[in-house]
């Protein structure tokens, strides 16, 4: 069989693509480390589709979503700018109506989408992957592709809408009230809300209490997370407790360890990360600390809101409160969409690929079910119904070899046309006024403050000051090493890391924006967080004492 490109039609082609746009940016948040070919195919096709769909559905005046390319496992993006003034105006007129549902009935809009997606997931899950025929598995695979496409449509329609509102709120606070997004009052107004990710954590906390009642807490505490599953399976009480865990995970365990990839097990397959979370709660003891935090935060929120409202004339308070309400939803959405959208869909993509993979292994087409991550959907289509006589090992081997090579080096942060500088490129991003680009890609760049004499300069993700030993974590599997009082240092954090925050005194991440996971969760836990320090994981060593000053957005290395 002849080999095709990894993402046909969207492989980066320097000659053609630099003509289309002079600057392509690496999506470092999602495609570092590099994607497997199958996941890359899904992302490049459908994230791209979703962004264009979302921007068009909202008729954003300045941008028509993003274009994406695949290069060496990296996702490279550029913006589809609306250059023509007349066109911008016309799009603005349609935007007026299109954005309205976000303001009039945010909960109805998002709630409706959640229900729709849960319906799709239910249908996909109803396929019994053990007993289904190959034809049914292929139908499930095609359905998964469609669900992924739809997920990205919803994802980007929502995200463009809420981020537009959030940016407006940020600008009003900054320009009209003098409170920027590094200001504690700003964060105080937005935090102290529950969301689905916290709710799942609360259930896991309850399971930690149950483990204590059932006498299996020590088994969990004394074994490494990897072994805990086996140790628990050896006792009756342990088995019973695992039964409780299964009930929870069947409902809420459709999430991946890595945010944007399918090559690691979902929780529902391998509950090790869930058990690790339970272990964190056991180590920490006491109540579910988020609930306790939240009471205080909600009180602070009332105060901060009042403080700001006091400065707003009576006749202007109506719209301000309405906008504030929408901005407050944004934090919850930023966390919760991962649960209902990306992570859930990705876990079902994995499930579908592995199910077909098993059949292909049985038919000796490939060696391992996971080899499907190195195939393309067209190849899956070609061999799933009648696998007899096919051998795709050479394709898998060659792509895996390439993938390993991608993983061994770093993709450049941007690919620029000759004569086009990074500053020019950033200028284009800013000019786009693209809400997602502004919150995710550009973010706020740290400004060095020499008078603070700090070792690392970032921006405030969450206020406060804390000192403690650093714990540099490069991947989720290491989370087990975290001790109470540590300061987490990571490239970035993901939703499955949330329970660890309860043990932490502070957080430092290389990349992030005010709406990134580490910042939102730190605010909810009331611990300082400095984001965008860029060199945190390379300059800080585990065990080193560091001081995180979230207020000033800087980090001090106390023993050098």
């Amino acid at each position: 069989m002849k080999m095709y490109d990894v993402v046909p039609g969207f492989e980066f082609d320097e000659k053609v693509d630099l003509e289309k746009s002079p600057a392509w940016f690496l999506d470092a948040t999602h495609s570092v480390p590099p994607w497997t070919p199958m996941f890359g195919w899904f992302w490049i096709n459908f994230c791209r589709h979703g962004m264009q769909y979302g921007a068009e559905k909202l008729s954003l005046p300045t941008v028509k979503g993003w274009d994406w390319r695949f290069k060496d496992g990296g996702g490279y993006l550029t913006l589809n700018l609306v250059m023509d003034e007349e066109e911008r105006k016309a799009r603005g007129v349609r935007f007026r109506e299109a954005i309205r549902p976000f303001i009039d009935d945010y909960d109805g809009l998002w709630g409706g989408y959640i229900n729709e997606m849960l319906g799709h997931y239910k249908r996909l899950k109803s396929c019994n992957v053990e007993s289904a025929t190959n034809a049914e598995l292929l139908a499930n695979f095609e359905d998964t592709i469609n669900v992924c496409r739809r997920m990205w449509e919803i994802h980007m329609h929502m995200m463009y809408g809420v981020d537009t509102a959030f940016i407006l709120f940020e600008n009003i606070c900054k320009d009209a009230l003098g409170i920027d997004d590094t200001h504690p009052t700003f964060h105080d107004m937005l935090r102290g809300f529950d969301n689905k990710v916290f709710q799942v954590d609360r259930e896991l906390w309850k399971l930690s209490k149950k483990a204590e009642e059932m006498g299996v807490a020590d088994t969990i505490l004394n074994s490494s997370s990897g072994e805990a599953l086996t140790s628990l399976g050896e006792s009756e009480a342990g088995k019973k407790w695992l039964g409780h865990l299964k009930v929870l995970l069947d409902e809420d365990g459709w999430r991946m360890q890595r945010m944007a990839e399918i090559n690691l097990p979902a929780w529902v397959e391998d509950p090790t990360p869930a058990i690790a979370s339970v272990k964190f709660f056991l180590k920490q003891g006491g109540d579910f600390n988020l609930d306790k935090e939240r009471e205080g935060l909600a009180r602070r929120r009332e105060e901060a809101t009042k403080e700001v409202l006091d400065r707003i004339p009576q006749d202007q308070q109506g719209w301000f409160k309405m906008l504030l309400g929408l901005a407050q939803k944004t934090g919850a959405f930023s966390e919760e969409h991962n649960h209902y959208l990306d992570l859930y869909t990705h876990s079902l993509m994995r499930r579908s690929c592995l199910a077909i993979g098993k059949r292909l292994v049985a038919a000796k087409v490939i060696d391992h079910p996971e080899d499907t991550f190195f195939l393309m959907p067209d190849e899956m289509r070609a061999v799933t119904l009648v696998p007899d006589g096919f051998n795709l090992r050479h394709i898998v081997d060659r792509r895996r070899k390439e993938w390993k090579e991608w993983c061994s080096r770093e993709n450049p942060p941007a690919i620029l046309k000759e004569g086009f500088t990074m500053d020019d490129a950033m200028g284009v991003l800013v000019q786009s006024n693209d809400p997602i680009a502004l919150k995710v890609v550009v973010g706020s760049m740290p400004v060095p403050k020499p008078e603070l004499n700090a070792d690392l300069y970032g921006i405030c993700g969450s206020g406060g000051v804390a000192e403690g030993p650093a714990r540099v974590i490069m991947q989720e599997a290491q989370l087990d090493e975290v001790q109470k009082g540590d300061i987490l240092v990571a490239a970035s954090t993901a939703p499955s890391w949330t329970p660890v925050f309860g043990l932490l005194n502070g957080v430092v991440v290389d990349r992030g924006a005010s709406l990134s996971h580490s910042a939102i969760v730190s605010r909810e836990y009331g611990i300082p967080c400095v984001i965008n320090v860029f060199e945190g994981t390379s300059k800080i060593k585990t065990g080193q004492r560091i001081k995180v000053d979230g207020n000033n957005g800087v980090v001090y290395l106390l023993d050098k």
Binding site: R88, I99, R100, G178, M322, K449, V465
Partner: protein
């Protein structure tokens, strides 16, 4: 401290209760100290001293005789009476025991500041009870850069006499206060030997944002900032939690320095022009003091502060003046985002979003 003194109260002892004998200015300094707000150290010569002096020397009779039957708008008569009274006072020496207490307190103050012949400011502080708020500000004299025991005693004496300046006499006559019912206290306070100084607003004077403190600073005395002579170092500090949000280091080419009898302008050495004139911990301490003062007075304040060379941190940071910020600094929500009446809230939000895309 001053327990052995009959006529002296250290500022720390000048509570509101002491107002009748130390006057408004000194009581205010005492109140600030008690609220944890540092002011340059010093003491009050209470009005008891003045009273004993006037009574003992029969000077009240001179006052009454000089002003008897005088119409308030007869400038010449007022001027003549004032001159007579002041002459009588200045030619009557201060009793030895009072003089000894003033000298002794001054010497203690010098020791406390680690300097012989410490320059001080000598100010009168009116005590007329009904005038607690109707300030006599500017109606009596203030003597700056006074140093040495004799000079301090002389300045005190002159302060007493200044209760009878032409303006003060006229003011009392017009306000219906008796000329022989007012007493005077004198405050003797260290002149700040300013290393760096400036002003602070406990809000952002541009946006009116009350969650921030702004600080401007230059080397030397604060006059250079008040007069806008240099581009100062400026700092924005968030109040809660207290943290520096922005620092801009200015080009500070000139400063005011002390020359023994006042201040004068001089060039800042070139190596100091572009380095911060206050450290991070000093910025934080100044801001902390701002919070304390704002809390004490219950509203945003415009504060003059200075850092003293003679004392050590943080005891060397002083508030030298504090007044409420006038309404001018309270610009809230900008006009450009205001909704017109009659427009729907959602429509207004959408208008703003569209404006945002057009930025």
């Amino acid at each position: 401290m001053g327990s052995d003194y009959q006529y002296i109260l250290w500022f720390e002892e000048c509570s509101r209760k002491a107002l009748p004998i130390v006057g408004g200015k000194n009581a205010n300094l005492g109140e600030m100290l008690n609220a944890g707000i540092r002011v340059p150290p010093g003491f009050a010569v209470t009005s008891k001293g003045f009273q004993r002096y006037m009574d003992g020397a029969g000077l009240w009779d001179v006052v009454r005789e000089s002003v008897a039957g005088m119409p308030p708008d007869d400038i010449k008569a007022v001027s003549r009476a004032g001159a007579e009274i002041r002459e009588a006072i200045l030619s009557t020496p201060i009793p030895n025991d009072i003089r000894a207490e003033v000298v002794s307190a001054y010497v203690s103050l010098c020791e406390r500041c680690g300097r012989r012949d410490l320059p001080v400011a000598v100010r009168s502080s009116a005590t007329a009870e009904d005038l607690a708020e109707a300030s006599f500000a500017g109606q009596q004299d203030t003597y700056l850069w006074i140093w040495g025991s004799d000079a301090v005693v002389t300045a005190t004496h002159q302060c007493w006499a200044s209760l009878f300046t032409d303006r003060a006499i006229t003011y009392r006559m017009k306000a219906g206060f008796p000329q022989d019912g007012v007493y005077i206290s004198v405050g003797i306070q260290k002149m700040v030997n300013s290393r760096s100084a400036g002003v602070m607003f406990t809000l952002d004077p541009i946006t009116g944002d009350r969650s921030r403190i702004t600080i401007d600073a230059n080397w030397g005395f604060g006059e250079s900032i008040v007069q806008g002579m240099v581009s100062p170092d400026s700092f924005i500090v968030a109040k809660r939690p207290l943290s520096i949000k922005q620092s801009i280091i200015g080009q500070k080419d000139q400063m005011f320095v002390a020359n023994g009898c006042g201040t004068m302008v001089t060039a800042v050495p070139s190596d100091q022009q572009v380095i911060p004139c206050i450290s991070v911990s000093e910025v934080m301490e100044i801001a902390e003091m701002g919070l304390c003062i704002e809390k004490h007075y219950g509203c945003p304040q415009d504060i003059e502060w200075a850092i003293d060379k003679d004392l050590s941190f943080p005891e060397n940071l002083f508030s030298t003046q504090s007044r409420p910020v006038t309404a001018a600094g309270k610009k809230d929500l900008g006009k450009e985002v205001m909704k017109e009446s009659g427009k729907g809230d959602a429509d207004h939000i959408i208008d703003l979003m569209l404006k945002g895309f057009g930025r």
